[in-house]
């Protein structure tokens, strides 16, 4: 019995030594980033430029979704977790129970513009009208001051982060009407609206062009300035979460994204810079 206890104690001590020596082997010049596919293009482009100026640094970036990123932060398999939504109480609880203190840094904002064909006479909608259009309660443009034509509602597919935001901020949890056209990308929505004079759609603010007309919502035009100031309501912050305040290479990388150069990348990939 005594022998067994000694053996057990020896295994425990050996385990501690092995664990800590293995942890010490973690390379200081590597960074693993996992999470939101919405934030993915920002992280990818920023990583490319960051590594160009620091040849010894290796950054691995992958998507999977905000939930997957936060799960990776909890498991210790990533250094930065990208998220297109604030962390949930359930996730904070799991983090804290496992010794992780999740701290989020806002690196950009994502504004969603409501677009129609340039020939459409409607210039402005309220959030209630917009919700009624997508819920199927308003079906003709004449009900919101336009021509007597049926409204063709175009939405993003349910797997997209843009749809999640639209559902939360506009539909308030309600479902999109059954005959709404669900498309797989911002570009596809914009293209569909260009080709359909009676269509309405929504895209990330970076996808606005002269081919479509963006509507004023609740009296506010969607611009980078109104999104950052919070006046424009259909917008969300994009986060990078770390265990505690960012430090080391993670801090350098996040500081780079928040720099003038990094915020230019944010704008170039279709999001709203916060600085």
């Amino acid at each position: 019995m005594l022998k067994f206890k000694k053996l057990g104690l020896l295994i425990l001590i050996a385990s501690f030594v092995t664990v800590y020596s293995s942890e010490a082997r973690k390379r200081p010049n590597t960074l693993t980033i996992t999470g939101s596919t919405t934030v993915l293009p920002i992280a990818q482009r920023a990583a490319e430029e960051f590594m160009e100026s620091r040849p010894k640094v290796n950054i691995s970036v992958r998507g999977g979704g905000s939930g997957v990123g936060i799960a990776a932060l909890i498991d210790g398999t990533c250094d930065i977790s990208d998220a297109s939504r604030p962390i949930k109480t359930k996730e904070i609880t799991t983090c804290r129970s496992k010794g992780i203190n999740p701290v989020g840094t806002v690196i950009a904002k994502d504004g969603i513009a409501i677009i129609v064909h340039p020939s459409n006479s409607v210039k402005e909608l309220s959030l209630d009208q917009l919700k009624a259009i997508y819920a199927g309660e308003i079906s003709k443009w004449s009900e919101v001051g336009g021509r007597t034509k049926p409204i063709v509602a175009i939405s993003r597919d349910v797997a997209s982060g843009t749809f999640e935001v639209f559902k939360k901020l506009v539909l308030k949890g309600d479902k999109t009407k059954a005959d709404a056209l669900m498309l797989a990308s911002n570009k596809a929505v914009a293209t569909a609206v260009v080709g359909a004079p009676d269509a309405i759609g929504y895209v990330g603010i970076g996808y606005l062009s002269s081919d479509v007309k963006s509507l004023v919502i609740e009296g506010v035009t969607p611009t980078n300035e109104t999104v950052v100031s919070g006046e424009y309501k259909i917008a969300r912050p994009l986060f990078m979460y770390t265990d505690g305040k960012p430090k080391g290479l993670a801090k350098e990388f996040i500081d780079f994204i928040l720099s003038k150069e990094g915020q230019k990348i944010v704008e170039n990939v279709g999001f709203v810079p916060i600085k």
């Binding site: 799960a71 498991d75 210790g76 983090c95 804290r96 496992k98 010794g99 349910v158």
Partner: protein, 353 residues
């Protein structure tokens, strides 16, 4: 609810068919459905006094789960449990070789209370570590192993949620008190009441406790009154749980007092996907009796061939050496070596981008 094969293989097939069809129909009516599966393939060798007591491969468990998110505030879940068993027999007395149970089946109403839910149906037993035990050391947790709680699931209603800012969890529960496997002849007319609280004052440090009480006219369930206190320390690769369990059961006029404790450290070597585990238990089934206790020593490791993430499969090899040593010096220990290949998969949750 428990339909074993002895109640008729046909019955089980019909029942499984109904469940599958029902879920397919539910999936077609909107919302989001997530499917999940897990399989435990185990080899056990048990030795006592130099004699082999058991040496066998078996499919210990297969779980199939359907989770359906109807709206942001309403979700439901059904899990089927399948297992190898030669205990159930057909009319000729031949073993069927398998069993089928409903592991859980409930509806969760969210948003009725802040950061919480009301759950109705066959659900987890929120006592000690019973509800969040993930079988990393293969063996059951102390509360379930020593039958303080009759099973990991039970029929009832619970209300609970999260303490704001991630400071912990709480739950109150009323259940039948007989566990999910019990649907037989003895119907307990008294409910069991449970309360559970976990508090996380600082990241990595958890303290908590649970309480369960039940009174019943049935001999089998006359009285149960148990409490447990637990502490967890987790930081980086280290995760250590400690749990104390005590209480009484039996005749209310002369109940049997019981106590026990468990220490369960786990070390994770993230760089090579390996976990090293150890566990030490003591359980005294009657504190008035001398030398009737039992020690459990466990050592082992888990190796992840691949980790399971949302929408991706995971495969893990678990190993454990277990010694159960009776407190009495007259009794010989029982040694067990267990090897388990455990694999699981799930479909992605839509909208989780």
């Amino acid at each position: 609810m428990c339909y074993k094969m002895e109640k008729g293989g046909r019955m089980s097939k019909v029942f499984a068919g109904i469940v599958v069809n029902m879920l397919v129909v539910i999936s077609a009516f909107g919302g989001q459905t997530q499917f999940y599966g897990e399989n435990w393939f185990r080899y056990t060798q048990e030795m006592k006094e130099g004699e082999t007591q058991e040496s066998e491969f078996k499919v210990k468990r297969i779980y199939l789960r359907w989770k359906h998110i109807h709206t942001d505030k309403l979700e439901s879940r059904i899990s089927l449990e399948m297992f190898s068993s030669d205990k159930s027999k057909d009319k000729k007395g031949d073993p069927h070789g398998a069993g089928l149970k409903i592991k859980d089946g409930y509806v969760k109403f969210k948003g009725l209370i802040p950061e919480g839910d009301i759950t109705v149906g066959l659900q987890k037993n929120y006592f000690g570590r019973v509800y969040d035990w993930e079988y990393w050391p293969i063996e059951k947790c102390i509360g379930e192993k020593y039958k303080v709680i009759p099973g990991s699931r039970d029929y009832g209603i619970s209300v609970g949620g999260y303490i704001p800012q991630g400071y912990g969890t709480w739950r109150l529960e009323a259940v039948n008190g007989e566990g999910y496997k019990k649907v037989g002849d003895l119907i307990n007319t008294e409910l069991a009441y449970m309360a559970d609280l976990r508090f996380i004052p600082i990241p990595g440090f958890t303290i908590g406790g649970s309480y369960v009480q039940e009174n019943s006219g049935l001999e089998e369930y006359q009285k149960r009154q148990y409490y447990t206190g637990l502490t967890r320390f987790a930081k980086g690769p280290v995760d250590i749980w400690m749990q104390y369990l005590g209480g009484q059961k039996g005749d209310p006029d002369s109940p049997t007092s019981q106590m026990g404790y468990m220490i369960f450290p786990k070390f994770h070597l993230g760089t090579i996907n390996l976990e090293i585990l150890a566990r030490y238990d003591y359980w005294d089934p009657d504190t008035d009796e001398k030398d009737d206790g039992k020690f459990l020593y466990l050592g082992g490791f888990n190796y992840y061939f691949s980790r399971r993430e949302k929408g991706k499969p995971g495969v893990m090899l678990q190993t454990a050496f277990v010694r159960e040593q009776p407190e009495s010096s007259d009794s010989e220990p029982t040694d067990k070596i267990m090897l388990q290949l455990r694999w699981g998969w799930s479909t992605p949750k839509l909208g989780e981008i």
